[in-house]
């Protein structure tokens, strides 16, 4: 599919490129789920009782379908976009007109999202993550596949300042997508196991144990117990399934635009994070994964998450990988080796954090602050010092009793908000605050 022809009616200055339209099938794709739902309902009714498909249904169809088509068409006609040298401009709306200007310098990441039904028709949605935008600032849904990829390259080029934009015709202005180098592909088997070795296994084990105990006490109690456990099991299973579907075929690649993450079985998503946009990296090691030596890596950029659930569900840089590989990748995306070793809190910190004290730690070098914590899941947070927004030392009354204090390094991430060096010796925390402040200042200027 090619992009629809540009509208020449639009007022364009000499330097600005012409306005463009979304994919012509956009109304169908956007209303696609409704159409399918409607067909299913009508079909079921028809199967059960063919006479019900009489006049009312026909009237509904005769009125509803053209009306929906008209609304879809008009809103498609009204939606247009263009990319100037500094901005993405989007105008939309039928009754309420909306005109949006997204400064490209503030773009943090660009995602190409392909829901299953859009993939079938060769269409994709382009989402821009912008600082301060709770939701994706400017979702362009839907574009043709090729157009989405070309536009992504163009936006990333302009936002990084690698290409001076604005001049020339569309053909020259939108270069072909650049080649990428695949770093990691997560195989399916470990992914499936890693998802199962979590809430699903725990839920199943608890259910089996409870059933056995109930059976020993009274056989009559078994059935109600299982009936009660079923919704929980289903919920856990559906969460696991969603994770599998979303993270299936996870591919990490490096492209000239930045880091590229592709994943998904039915709905696919291709995220591009330009270099130097990562605010925080978190490495998770759940208890049940420990004997396999697996970890999960999550990243956050400013602007990601906080919006729809769809975005909150993502954030993985690697859904599952051996520790060594994960460490290598983290060092790579953060542009430099991570500091090794860690400084533990004083032993008296066990009075404040009896369970976590064994895992607490912090280590600092010129570019990164690394903190660890966690009880069941060992969590390591890596904060690039150049991304630190503010530093805090906090001390609660019980901490003061034991002369402890915690240092927080805040970043602009939405889900991963920075690192905490918890329960340090109070003087250490103060010294660390001074030291991190100094190094962060140096890192910002670098």
């Amino acid at each position: 599919m090619t992009a629809p022809p540009a509208e020449d009616r639009a007022p364009t200055t000499a330097t600005d490129p012409p306005w463009e339209r979304l994919h012509p099938l956009t109304p169908l794709l956007r209303g696609g789920r409704l159409v399918v739902l409607g067909l299913v309902v009508v079909g079921q009714q028809g199967l059960r009782d063919p006479s019900a498909l009489g006049t009312p249904m026909l009237v509904l169809l005769a009125l509803g379908v053209p009306l929906a088509a008209l609304v879809g068409y008009v809103s498609w006609r009204r939606m247009r976009y263009r990319v100037t040298a500094t901005e993405l401009q989007v105008e939309s709306g039928v009754l309420t007109r909306r005109s949006r200007r997204v400064p490209l310098a503030r773009v943090q990441a660009v995602d190409v999202v392909r829901p299953f039904y859009a993939r079938v028709l060769g269409a994709a949605e382009l989402r821009l993550e912008v600082v301060g935008g709770g939701d994706a600032e400017a979702p362009l849904a839907f574009l043709g596949d090729d157009e989405a990829l070309r536009l992504r390259t163009r936006l990333l080029d302009l936002s990084s300042g690698r290409v001076a934009g604005g001049e020339g015709e569309e053909g020259q202005a939108l270069p072909a997508p650049e080649p990428e180098r695949v770093l990691v592909v997560v195989p399916t088997a470990p992914l499936v196991w890693s998802v199962l070795l979590g809430p699903p296994l725990v839920a199943l084990a608890v259910t089996v144990a409870a059933t056995l105990v109930a059976a020993l006490i009274s056989v009559q109690a078994v059935l109600p117990l299982l009936a009660g456990a079923l919704p929980i099991l289903l919920g856990v299973a559906s969460m696991a399934a969603r994770r599998l579907l979303s993270e299936y075929g996870f591919t990490v690649a490096e492209s000239p635009d930045g880091l590229r993450l592709r994943h998904g079985l039915l709905d696919t998503r291709s995220q591009t994070i330009p270099a130097g946009r990562i605010q925080t990296v978190r490495v998770l090691e759940p208890l049940l994964w420990r004997r396999f030596g697996w970890v999960r890596v999550e990243v956050d950029v400013a602007g990601y998450g906080g919006g729809s659930q769809e975005q909150a569900a993502t954030g993985a840089l690697l859904p599952v990988a051996p520790r060594a590989l994960a460490d290598q990748l983290v060092a790579r995306v953060l542009d430099g080796p991570l500091p090794t070793g860690r400084s533990a809190p004083p032993p008296r910190a066990r009075w404040r954090a009896p369970l976590t004290v064994r895992r607490l730690g912090v280590v600092l070098d010129d570019r990164h602050l690394v903190t660890t914590s966690g009880v069941l899941t060992t969590t390591t947070d890596v904060v690039p010092l150049s991304k630190v927004q503010s530093l805090r030392v906090t001390q609660g009354p019980w901490q003061r009793r034991w002369r402890l204090a915690s240092l927080h390094a805040d970043t602009a991430g939405r889900r991963l908000v920075g690192g905490v060096a918890a329960h340090r010796d109070a003087d250490d925390a103060a010294a660390l605050l001074a030291e991190v402040t100094r190094r962060a200042r140096a890192a910002r200027r670098r």
């Binding site: 503030r106 943090q108 600082v131 301060g132 400013a302 991304k387 630190v388 927004q389 503010s390 530093l391 805090r392 030392v393 906090t394 001390q395 609660g396 009354p397 003061r400 204090a405 927080h408 805040d410 970043t411 602009a412 991430g413 939405r414 908000v417 920075g418 109070a426 003087d427 925390a429 103060a430 010294a431 605050l433 001074a434 402040t437 962060a440 200042r441 910002r444």
Partner: protein, 167 residues
């Protein structure tokens, strides 16, 4: 009263920490008198009429001790506030029960708010709040005289613009 944390931050004790104005303390104290002491006296009077002198005295003692405690707490909280404008960053410290020290580099400031409620305005004080791109940043200073609030805001805005670093 610089504690261990702030000492190390500044490198020298009492290196020009500024405080909220005394009017903030006046405001907090009057809030305690108005919301705790006064209702306490009213309740005690009502008890004296309805129940008896013993109950009235008990209520008075209770209200009195509560008021005393709160007055001490308010005083200490007020005294704990401090802010320090350094070359590259602003340091804010606060809290008695939970002590917090926050360092915000000027270049990280996204915007500065000056807010004043109706009581604040009567007393001529305002709160200055610093916002960065990080949701966890919690730097604000209450009880600044209007002139000082404006000065601080303008200074922070100017320095923030001069040293703005990309997110």
């Amino acid at each position: 009263m610089p504690d261990a944390v702030t000492d190390v931050v500044t490198g020298q004790p009492d290196a020009g920490w500024r405080r909220p104005d005394r009017r903030l303390l006046v405001l907090r104290r009057s809030t305690v008198w108005g919301l705790v002491a006064l209702p306490g006296v009213v309740v005690a009077a009502a008890l004296g009429v309805l129940a008896g002198p013993a109950e009235a005295v008990a209520a008075l003692l209770l209200a009195g001790s509560l008021t005393g405690l709160l007055l001490v707490g308010v005083q200490r909280r007020w005294a704990a506030w401090g802010y320090l404008e350094r070359e590259d960053d602003l340091v804010v410290r606060r809290g008695v029960l939970i002590r917090r020290t926050t360092v915000v580099p000027y270049g990280r400031m996204q915007f500065v708010d000056v807010t004043a409620g109706p009581l604040d305005r009567r007393l001529g004080i305002a709160t200055v709040t610093l916002h960065t791109a990080a949701p966890a940043t919690d730097a604000f200073v209450p009880g600044l005289l209007a002139d000082e609030a404006t000065r601080l805001r303008d200074k922070l805005a100017a320095l923030g613009e001069a040293r703005q670093a990309g997110v």
